[in-house]
C-alpha cells in the first residue's frame, strides 16, 4: 500500500475541510443575528469567520489558509448567488490573509495585533474593490467609519480565537492524536 509523496496527508486536508465548514457556519449564523440591513453603513459585519482564518494561519500555514478562505467565499457565492458579495469578501479575505501572514512571522505581534491588522486590511481590500466596481474613488469616504469598526472587531475576533487555539493545541500537545 504505497501512498503518494504528497506534502499534506488526507488527515490534514480533512482538518482544513472541517475548518472551512466551520467558517461557513459562522458566517451564516452571524448574518442571522446581525442582518446587514441593521447596520448604518453597508459592509459592517462582525466577521466571525475570520476566527477560522486566524486559527488556520497559526495551525496550518499559508497554503491551507488560502484554500480555506477561497473555498469558503466560493461556496458562499454558490449558495448565495450574490456576485458583488463574492468579490467583496474575496478581496477583503485575501488582503487580510496576505497581511496576517506577513505579521505572523514577526513574533512581536500577538494574536490581537495580527487580527486587527487583518481586519483593517480586510476593510481596505473591500473598499478598493468597491472603488474598482464603481469606477470612482467615492467609496473611500466609507474608510474612516469602517476602519474604526474593524479595529474593534479585530480585537473581538482575536479574543474569541485565543481560547479556541489554546483548547485545540492542548488536545494535541505533542503526542499521538
Amino acid at each position: 500500500m504505497s501512498e503518494g509523496h504528497m506534502k499534506y496527508s488526507i488527515y490534514d486536508m480533512t482538518r482544513w475541510s472541517i475548518l472551512t465548514a466551520l467558517a461557513l457556519t459562522l458566517s451564516v449564523t452571524e448574518s442571522l443575528f446581525f442582518p446587514s440591513a441593521l447596520f448604518p453603513v453597508p459592509g459592517m459585519k462582525l466577521g466571525l469567520s475570520n476566527i477560522v482564518t486566524l486559527l488556520a494561519i497559526y495551525l496550518f500555514g499559508a497554503l491551507p489558509s488560502m484554500l480555506i478562505v477561497f473555498i469558503r467565499c466560493l461556496i458562499t457565492f454558490a449558495f448565495g448567488g450574490n456576485l458583488t458579495a463574492f468579490l467583496f469578501s474575496l478581496a477583503g479575505g485575501l488582503m487580510a490573509l496576505f497581511v496576517m501572514l506577513i505579521l505572523r512571522n514577526i513574533n512581536k505581534f500577538s494574536l490581537f495585533g495580527v487580527s486587527v491588522s487583518g481586519s483593517a486590511a480586510h476593510t481596505v481590500g473591500q473598499i478598493l474593490m468597491a472603488c474598482l466596481l464603481t469606477r470612482t474613488w467615492a467609496a473611500i469616504s466609507y474608510l474612516p467609519v469602517l476602519m474604526m469598526v474593524s479595529i474593534i472587531t479585530g480585537l473581538v475576533i482575536a479574543g474569541l480565537s485565543i481560547p479556541v487555539y489554546k483548547a485545540v493545541t492542548a488536545i494535541h500537545p505533542g503526542g499521538q492524536s
Binding site: 499534506y8 496527508s9 513574533n107 512581536k108 505581534f109 490581537f112 474608510l143 474612516p144 476602519m147 488536545i171
Partner: protein, 166 residues
Amino acid sequence: MRGYPMNIHQKNAAGLTSAGRKYKPQYRFTRWDAGVVVLIVLLTAGIAAWLFQTTQNSITEDSHLEAVLLVSGKEVWRTDLSVLTSRETYDVAVDEGGLTVLAEAGKVCIETSQCPDQICVHTGWLISAGQTAVCLPYKTVLKVVSVDGQGSITADTSALYDAISR
C-alpha cells in the same frame, strides 16, 4: 517532505502538535499591537481629515446644492435646493409600495415610506453635499450633490450604495 507520516495515526499531525507547528503565537496584547492600533487610528484620522478637506474645497463660490433621486440606479428626479422657496414633494411608486420625498429650501428628506425598515425615513433631513438617504427595499437613493457653475458634480460619495443596492 519533512516528516509528515502517512499512516492514519499521525504522530506529528501538521499544525496540531507542538512538533508539527511552526509558529507559536503570543497570547497577550503587546506593545506592538498597541502600535498597530494607533497607526491605524492615525491613518483613519488622516484620511477623514483629507476627505473633509476635499469636500470643503468643493463648495466653491458658484456651487449650489441639488437633490437627486435615483431608483434602481436611474435618475428620476432632480431639484435645485438653493432656489426652492416653498415645499416640493415627489412621490415614487414601486411594486411593493412607495415613498415620498420632501424638499424645502436647502434641505431634503424622505418624508414617508411604506418600506418595512423605515431607515430611509429615520435618516432625516439631508443638508449638505454627500449626504444620502437610502431605501434598500425599494432600491431608491436620495442624495445631495454639490454642483458648480459648469454643472459638474463636485461632491458625490454615494456610489457605494449604488453598487451594493444594485
